[in-house]
Symmetry: C2
DNA sequence: TGATTATCCTATTAAATCTATAGGATTTAA
DNA sequence: TTAAATCCTATAGATTTAATAGGATAATCA
């Protein structure tokens, strides 16, 4: 139940981009340097974020990455689901990645299911009420 | 951020034990059968729970495991910390397992830190307000 | 047009963690 | 004394995560 480095780095990169005033693409190297992240690893993370509609990019000299939405329009639910995967800690309580447990005959009677349902709801409330804009100055 | 099978099975075993009326030790085999768990794997989990003060045990014929506290006196915070480890998703927001991030110059200005602080608090509230007794009949 | 810069993309390696099993030692009851 | 059960350590196997490698593609600018 640790946050992956992928998610950690992705969040830092998004926040860094959101905090920029400059109206130009920011290069991977700059983000990596500023946030102490392996450049190659960050590269693959930014690629994921671009493919999932969070970032735009520009190739070649003067190229880089930039947000394609306003920070306040990017809820943490969306970011977490792309970078980290399901918000739920077990698939049987996942909204977007639901899977039945093969060992469990009846979900409604499963102690783990019901506990994790509460945990999921509480995490969801945080993520739904937090946008990238909220992360910038805290 | 998935719940480990260890925790899942441990919670099921604890709940099963808590639901018993019988005033006698319950054998690993019975729990494993009832909850569809590998007996050997469950054995190592119950050992952990015993060593951490949740269970008592009796060896030999008629032996097995039993709770040594009332279910309502076993908060999920304690169970989760033993089985799953830190409740926090990053060490820098952990109450019981705190560690500084080596890449982060100032925690208070770290977006990840502050987001994960909120997530931890919300999970903590659930775990603190739920005891083993609450898991039995839901 | 050619050199440089930067992203794009896939594959793969290395490390860590999780899951499960093996196999015998110890204790207890009958 | 035998059978039943937990105790205990080590380790194998599987999965996931983290990081790297290396070239392809596209854009800029002289």
């Amino acid at each position: 139940m640790m946050l992956s480095k992928k998610t950690k780095y992705g969040l830092k990169a998004l926040t860094f981009l959101a905090a920029q005033d400059r109206n130009e693409p920011i290069q991977i190297a700059e983000i990596a340097n500023h946030e102490n992240i392996s450049q190659k690893f960050l590269e693959s993370i930014l690629l994921t974020l671009r493919r999932n509609g969070f970032l735009g990019s520009k190739k070649g000299k003067g190229g880089g990455y930039y947000l394609i939405k306003e920070p306040q329009e990017i809820p943490m639910t969306a970011v977490m689901r792309i970078l980290e995967g399901p918000i739920a800690m077990v698939p049987c309580v996942s909204l977007n990645f639901y899977e039945k447990c093969d060992d469990c005959p009846d979900e409604n009677l499963c102690a783990v299911h019901n506990l994790m349902l509460k945990v999921r709801d509480s995490a969801l409330e945080v993520y739904r009420n937090t946008t990238l804009a909220d992360l910038i100055y805290q």
